[in-house]
């Protein structure tokens, strides 16, 4: 029964992928490519490209990709649910505990200590995507900064800081402005 197999494999991916999407990829490869032969290595490469080009977490994107390929839309839904089920149970438990114990002195202190780390990691993700945006992924060098992206970035930052624009509007605006600029040049 393909649905049971899909469910069990994605349950494992959901339960054991600590530390984000790039940690999940090797697990997906070993289970779905090497183990079950659901994907060829070439298709796995396509999956990686698509997951990077589209929004959404890599594990969830791969769940839809593989589920869709093996059993159509129902397969995609089964894989996605299996993938998020462990998170749902564990995070709900943690959320409940947080609600209950967040006033305890030790919990307050420890969580307070984690705050600078979380800010640093958001900053790190921001720097990575900023450099990717400005250099178009031509890695290693800082110099070939693309003027269109730089102007779009500065304009967006100005609108966010001074005009308090919403983030979705900003991302939408950047896509429209940037694309128009490229097509005109």
């Amino acid at each position: 029964m393909i649905f049971v197999e899909l469910f069990l494999v994605y349950l494992q991916i959901g339960a054991f992928s600590f530390g984000g999407g790039y940690a999940a990829m090797p697990l997906i490869q070993s289970l779905c490519v090497d183990g079950k032969h659901w994907l060829t290595t070439g298709e796995f490469a396509d999956l990686t490209t698509i997951a990077e080009m589209t929004p959404g977490p890599i594990a969830v994107n791969s769940a839809t990709f593989i589920g869709q390929k093996m059993a159509g839309l129902p397969g995609a839904i089964v894989c996605t649910i299996a993938c998020i089920l462990p998170s749902l149970l564990i995070v709900l438990l943690l959320a409940y505990l947080y609600g209950r114990f967040s006033e305890l002195a030790v919990v307050k202190k420890v969580l307070g200590q984690l705050r600078p780390a979380v800010v640093a990691m958001i900053a790190s993700a921001g720097m990575t995507i900023l450099i990717l945006a400005l250099t178009q992924g031509s890695t290693g060098s800082w110099i070939p900064v693309h003027p269109v992206e730089l102007i779009v970035f500065l304009l967006c930052l100005f609108l966010l800081r001074k005009k308090k624009c919403g983030p979705i509007q900003i991302i939408f605006l950047s896509a429209v402005l940037g694309t128009a600029a490229y097509l005109l040049i």
């Binding site: 959901g14 339960a15 992928s17 600590f18 530390g19 999407g21 940690a23 999940a24 698509i50 080009m53 589209t54 929004p55 959404g56 977490p57 890599i58 594990a59 969830v60 839809t64 869709q68 996605t80 998020i84 998170s87 564990i90 995070v91 709900l92 943690l94 959320a95 947080y98 609600g99 030790v106 420890v110 969580l111 200590q113 984690l114 600078p116 979380v118 640093a120 990691m121 790190s124 993700a125 921001g126 990575t128 995507i129 990717l132 945006a133 992206e149 779009v152 970035f153 967006c156 930052l157 966010l160 800081r161 919403g166 983030p167 900003i170 991302i171 940037g178 600029a181 490229y182 097509l183």
Partner: protein
């Protein structure tokens, strides 16, 4: 604990965030901070950071985990389910469509350009959020935390140390600092 929130608004907002957020888990945290904290005032800034740390310590995608914990914090179990559903619908739809038209999608020039320049917009949102959050840490004038924040940034961005390891390190540091301070008070 429950705030006055609208499940419908939660669903729509979470879906928009999920559909437009490129660049991984911490980017989506930035978007949630912007929407739920700055715009809607459904959560406080400190809670955002606490919940991110908790979401990061559980297995699974950070985006999904944070949707669950934000949803729960804002609207209980129903909130968690609404927000989880909202966060997974866009990837299911987008990937299903992209699978069908992969060749067009991966070679079309306008799609390529739009995806590339959108990153500049996403980067601007995150830089904006980081300026606010880092500003708050600096305002506390806790020199140790400011230094640690810079060190964690270097560890993450330059050394490429995984966020789960950084979280674990800070977790232990927090416990140690708690007991040291308690000892000091006792003396």
């Amino acid at each position: 604990m429950k705030r006055k929130i609208s499940y419908f608004r939660l669903f729509l907002t979470m879906m928009q965030i999920s559909a437009f957020t490129f660049g991984g888990g911490f980017v989506i945290i930035g978007m949630m901070q912007k929407k739920f904290c700055d715009e809607l005032h459904w959560v406080k800034e400190d809670e955002v950071l606490d919940m991110t740390a908790i979401a990061q310590s559980a297995p699974g995608a950070l985006a999904v985990n944070s949707a669950i914990i934000f949803g729960y914090r804002m609207g209980g179990i129903t909130g968690a389910l609404v927000s989880t559903l909202a966060v997974i619908i866009p990837p299911i739809v987008i990937i299903s469509v992209v699978c069908q038209i992969y060749d067009v999608f991966s070679t079309n020039r306008i799609v390529q350009i739009a995806l590339q320049v959108m990153r500049a917009g996403v980067a601007a949102v995150i830089v904006d959020v980081v300026m606010d959050l880092a500003g708050k840490v600096i305002e506390t004038k806790d020199a140790i935390n400011i230094v640690l924040m810079v060190l964690a940034f270097i560890a993450s961005w330059i050394c490429g140390i995984s966020s789960i390891q950084i979280i674990l390190f800070f977790l232990m540091l927090g416990i140690v600092r708690y007991f040291l301070e308690r000892k000091k008070v006792a003396q």
